[in-house]
């Protein structure tokens, strides 16, 4: 199945111990550090980079008995919604090889959908787990900010991103979340989960009796009609099993994409300054001074989307524009968080289509960056508000998978796992 191009590196790492994941194969997104195993971030800049240590999540996987089967393809440094910006070529969607698998964790989702791994890890900065889960027809969870350690995750926009699981079913995704969640002294933003039951896996009971589900109008309007139809069919399934559905409205959400891209690009422009070609990165021939050599290696090592985001981020943070863009984006972020808080005090979870469109054809999205950014409308609000969300298969439209997203309150993973498990 090499034609899917789900993996950048296929190499097996055997577990050190027996545990909850003994016998399971896990694919790991290629921005998560693996000791002595190349970690490229889908970039020519790190084509030869071999980390000297494991990310905390990888330590936990191996400690739980999982076998790592390789590093999965991704949009370069996580910057993309289709896995087409990878320096290692696009990944194809197992449901239709002429279409993209979504991104940026497209390789992880495709590997699980095609059975090339039982489970996978991805990272989600603005939808990078939920989007490919939806497009490939698997389950993906973006945990609450602070639930899973980011130690060893190569940073793109650290105030927004979390590592999370992919699996064919909600129960299996929850089992993997049980293994990776928890405080890590090497990531000061981690917090202890407030868990009601024994484990996340135990929450996957499929019981939605009495659950109230709010549907934000802003996240349904404007979506592809075939997506809406599939989404509504899945909602009526939940209703038939005892959930109640009501429409809600969150005015702030219509500013989420703009706020997200200002913040993500600003953080990226700072985070990616470390790629200077001195401590790692390709050797260059430049005879110039530090600044010239630095600029030359970044020209050679970064792809176009990465350059675009670094430049736009640099611009948004520059003198005279900082207040106009960055400060307003932070206002929008706070407003969105407040809106979610008040909506989630009325209902248990919020539901929307994960993606407003069906998976695009390969090559269709690259010409117009703004158009690609806009299809992240339903996923980015969750990252801005630091909340947990899950994408679960809702059904198919024209033979293509459609995902349903459930959003819960901070550290409310059990609630969204319970609700989603009624569907898959």
């Amino acid at each position: 199945m090499n034609e899917l191009n789900a993996f950048v590196t296929r190499e097996t790492v055997d577990p050190g111990e027996e545990g909850a994941l003994s016998g399971a194969t896990v694919a790991v997104k290629d921005n998560i550090s693996t000791r002595n195993l190349r970690t490229t971030c889908g970039s020519a800049m790190l084509a030869e980079y071999v980390p000297p240590y494991d990310a905390t999540v990888v330590e936990r996987l191996l400690g739980a008995g999982a076998t790592v089967v390789g590093k999965t393809n991704m949009d370069e440094f996580g910057m993309g919604t289709t896995t087409e910006t990878s320096a290692f070529g696009p990944t194809r969607n197992p449901a239709d090889p002429d279409r993209v698998p979504g991104g940026s964790s497209g390789g992880s989702a495709a590997a699980v959908a095609a059975g090339e791994a039982d489970l996978a890890l991805g990272s989600d900065t603005g939808g990078s787990i939920r989007c490919p889960a939806a497009f490939c027809g698997v389950v993906g969870i973006k945990p609450t900010y602070g639930l899973v350690s980011r130690y060893g995750l190569v940073a793109y926009a650290n105030s927004l991103e979390q590592i999370g699981p992919f699996a064919p079913t909600v129960a299996e995704a929850a089992e993997l979340l049980d293994v990776i969640a928890g405080v890590d002294e090497r990531d000061a933003t981690t917090r202890a989960p407030r868990r009601e039951g024994e484990s996340y896996a135990a929450a996957a009971s499929g019981d939605v009796e009495g659950l109230s589900i709010g549907v934000p109008a802003e996240l349904v309007e404007g979506a592809d009609e075939r997506v809406i139809e599939t989404f509504e069919t899945a909602l009526s399934e939940l209703e038939a099993e005892g959930a109640s559905i009501e429409e809600v409205s969150l005015d702030s959400l219509s500013y989420a994409v703009e706020a997200y891209y200002v913040i993500a690009m600003s953080e990226a422009s700072s985070n990616l300054a470390r790629f200077d070609g001195v401590r790692y990165g390709p050797a260059t021939e430049s005879d110039g001074n530090w600044n010239e050599a630095f600029a030359a290696v970044r020209e050679a090592g970064f792809g176009e989307e990465v350059k675009r985001r670094i430049l736009l981020g640099t611009y948004a943070l520059s003198a005279g524009y900082h207040e106009k863009y960055y400060e307003k984006a932070q206002d929008a972020r706070a407003w969105i968080a407040e809106d979610f808080d008040s909506a989630l005090s009325e209902v248990d979870v919020l539901a929307s289509p994960t993606m407003p469109v069906l998976p695009p054809r390969l090559g269709e999205s690259l010409e117009d960056p703004l158009r690609m950014y806009l299809i992240d409308a339903n996923t980015v609000p969750v990252n801005l508000a630091n909340l947990p969300a899950i994408s679960v298969p809702a059904g198919e439209a024209e033979g293509l998978p459609v995902g349903l997203q459930l959003i819960g309150p901070a550290f409310g993973e059990e609630t969204i796992i319970r609700a989603a498990s009624a569907l898959a």
Binding site: E258, N289, Y315
Partner: protein, 92 residues
């Protein structure tokens, strides 16, 4: 730049600040795309000022010496090193 039009020169100026060399074609293409993206960002003007005092707590821990990477391992990914140091281009 904020009045919609973005010139290739402005893109090259920002690229200089960010230390990223660009080809002529890239600078031209980015100029057109940045105009679109920045125009979309203008919508943020409509966002109301929001109270955002984060609840922050200092978290302290003991300063304890423990093992880190040895020098050889830390230098392993560097394109060039010399006498146990990273080797970079001249600073000026």
């Amino acid at each position: 730049m904020s009045d919609g039009a973005v010139t290739s020169e402005e893109v090259r100026h920002v690229a200089g600040l960010a230390r990223v060399s660009l080809t002529e074609e890239e600078a031209d293409r980015f100029a057109a795309q940045f105009a679109d993206v920045l125009e979309a960002f203008e919508r943020l003007d409509e966002v109301p000022d929001t109270e955002r005092e984060p609840e922050l707590v200092n978290v302290m821990r003991e300063d304890v010496v423990r093992e880190g990477l040895d020098r050889e391992t830390a230098l392993r990914n560097a394109p060039e090193s010399e006498d146990g140091y990273f080797r970079g281009p001249p600073v000026s």
